[in-house]
Symmetry: C2
Subunit: 427 residues, 2 copies
């Protein structure tokens, strides 16, 4: 069992969002480790030592984040060394690393940073490629705090995510795989889907997978806004067969609802597919106000396929920039199937792009009506075959509505690209 | 002392980000309560009961989130009632609330939800305006788990944020202020600033505030991307005077770097100021790809001032939509002061808006050069007096770069509006 301790007074006054928890828990569970508890404490030596002692009484692996910077670490370092019952010694390799770090930045090494080279005797030093504070791994054998007096590992990681994450991947994972291997092996795979709610996804796959679950397959779901993850995992010698069989069933059952396996978000899938097919895209956004373009341009390399777009928040902009006929707006309203189609067609025509996505809707909190309540949107995709709009309803708060609607738009394009690719290469 | 327990197996396999922690910690600390520890455990009755017992041994107030939904709560409910030593009884008001909830949605009340009306005898029921699971507040007097056998409160809140947050504000806060008032009073105020790094903000205010800190003022900083918060707080009878004096000093020292006190983000400040002044805005975005428009349209009521914008990711779009002369792009490059100015001027001219913000830059990871490295951007603001561009450098990852650059653009406009308002009403 693994426990995580996040140290930092800023966590407990709510000034910082704890992203370490999710990141570490996800990495660890995908490697097959079970995290039994996570604790956040202020970064005082007392609080850290107390929480560490408690976690060591339960867990074989305790990971502590933060609390080892140059300003706050003096006492913590002492207390951790005392807890383990060894003295602090200066590690010459760490001294050299710190000096090289500052030399490379043409700065004098601040005197305070030297304390970071003080490590509990016998600890393994984990190299910090992005900062000065090294990570530390301590083997506690026997562990005096644990009922069974088994061996436990205590791993201390630096607080900044850009230092912690690469250190975990390059230094901690190999150590865990060598020193604390998951008994009998572990395999996990995750499918991301969109277009169906969690309970409906569950309804489709639960039955076909029931026998495999009975045989030891771990099956989990995780719902986010307009996205449901299906996670398959199994332990032991039979694990790979179970996961592979289950993965085939999930792929057959959910088919095109799946947009990625093991990682990519929807915008990345869309940009990569467009890149592979050498097609171009523009967007015309009303109620999403730029979010669709923002998501697309978060993907490195988007400029190869994304030509740009229009944020036509006002009716005047829809008419002027996209050539939407004022009569259509008058007749059907700005939030309508006809206007969505005109927006998409106009964006495609003006830009010469292969595809245009258009969105018009009512984000709220005001502006809704009986016929078109808050959360209503029309999403259109224009291709060489013309424009086709769909009506969707996401009656959530403003930001959730915007995300769900942009997700729907991206998925319309993904499904279109899927269809075209299949038609091009039948069989 | 307060402790928070977040329940949910999805937290410990890293499928969900724990946003409750930050939200609750922030609210509680602004009310003057000290959160000493936060713990996340799986949503099994054993784990929840164990963590609750431990927290009750240390804290006067324990807040548990999640674990009371219709599917997982049966055992938890039993265990919590057993822990407190009272039986579960059905609360008729909760039964009625659940039935009304489903009737309003034209749905039959699922049999399972009825279990949510089972509450520990003597518990106060906290109304859930956005769901069926009520919150519960239990006064434990004396608290058998605490060394001092003092009175403790155990408060159980529903898991979904849209249910938890309003319930905390409308039900929990009044209860705390009545039952667990902060001894001697507490006052806190927070300034949000942009335009200066954390260490420089600290350098400016630390000295002038030193005496007040000595007299008991709590002074804290929190740095985010392109934003530094300065938080002032104090307890006791002298607290209000300390905080008010310190606030005046901070306002004098940081002046226009401050964009809000106690809450609003930069986009909200900009939209509200434009609304008050009855001015309109358009945006022309290249490297930020729509983020600026997205942020502006996250603010309810943005449509009164935001006319829309252009995502001119390609050079062709810059020329076609904004009238940027191709010769300017050829001479200076798409990422240049001249092009930023032309984009802003073109956007303002075409739209007839009062202000236009334009951004062109290099988000990376590729596309940089010696003269214009990755992270370089030009941000221009066009007003009736013409367009003026500034060069900025945010050499971070793609998303951080986009946010920091959009923050800079919003702040350019905020500073311009501040200047204009001052000129209009001198003295």
């Amino acid at each position: 069992m693994v426990e995580i301790i996040n140290t930092g007074s800023e966590l407990l006054i709510g000034r910082t969002l704890n992203t370490h928890q999710q990141w570490l828990c996800r990495r660890l569970s995908d490697l097959g480790y079970t995290v039994g508890r996570q604790t956040a404490v202020p970064d005082t030596a007392d609080a850290i030592a107390q929480a560490t002692t408690e976690s060591l009484s339960r867990a074989e692996l305790v990971i502590v984040t933060g609390g080892l910077g140059p300003t706050s670490d003096d006492l913590t370092r002492d207390r951790i060394a005392a807890l383990v019952g060894v003295p602090l010694v200066e590690d010459p390799a760490v001294v050299a690393h710190i000096e090289a770090f500052f030399t490379a930045r043409k700065r004098v090494t601040p005197a305070r940073t030297r304390v970071q080279a003080q490590v509990p005797q016998g600890a393994r030093v984990l190299t910090n490629s992005h900062g000065t504070a090294p990570g530390l791994a301590l083997k506690i054998s026997p562990n005096p705090f644990h009922r069974d007096r088994t061996t436990s590992w205590l791993i201390l990681l630096p607080g900044p995510p850009r230092e912690l994450r690469p250190m975990f991947d390059t230094e901690v994972v190999p150590l865990l795989q060598h020193e604390l291997p998951v008994a009998g092996g572990y395999l996990a795979t995750t499918f991301k889907t969109t277009g169906l709610g969690e309970s409906l996804v569950e309804e489709r796959v639960a039955d076909p997978l029931a026998q495999l679950v009975h045989a030891g397959l771990e099956l989990g779901y995780c719902a986010r806004v307009s996205e449901v993850e299906v996670r398959l995992a199994a332990r032991g010698a039979d694990g790979p067969r179970l996961v592979e069989t289950a993965a085939r069933i999930v792929q057959e059952t959910l088919g095109p609802l799946i947009f990625s396996q093991n990682g990519n978000d929807l915008e990345t899938v869309v940009v990569r597919t467009l890149t592979r097919l050498r097609r171009t895209l523009v967007v015309a956004e009303s109620c999403t106000g730029g979010l669709l373009g923002h998501r697309i341009t978060n993907v490195p390399g988007a400029s190869a396929v994304f030509l740009g777009g229009w944020i036509t928040y006002s009716n005047a902009a829809k008419v002027r920039d996209l050539g939407v006929p004022p009569a259509t707006i008058d007749a059907d309203g700005a939030v309508s199937e006809a206007v969505a189609n005109e927006m998409a067609a106009g964006a495609r025509r003006t830009s010469g792009a292969d595809y245009a996505l258009a969105i018009t809707g009512i984000a709220g909190p005001s502006g809704g009506s009986e016929a078109k309540p808050v959360g209503t949107a029309f999403v259109a995709l224009a291709t060489s075959a013309g424009a086709k709009a769909r009506r969707v309803l996401h009656p959530y708060d403003r930001e959730t509505f915007k995300f769900a609607t942009s997700q729907y738009a991206l998925d319309m394009l993904r499904r279109e690209l899927l269809r075209e690719t299949r038609e091009e290469s039948p069989g």
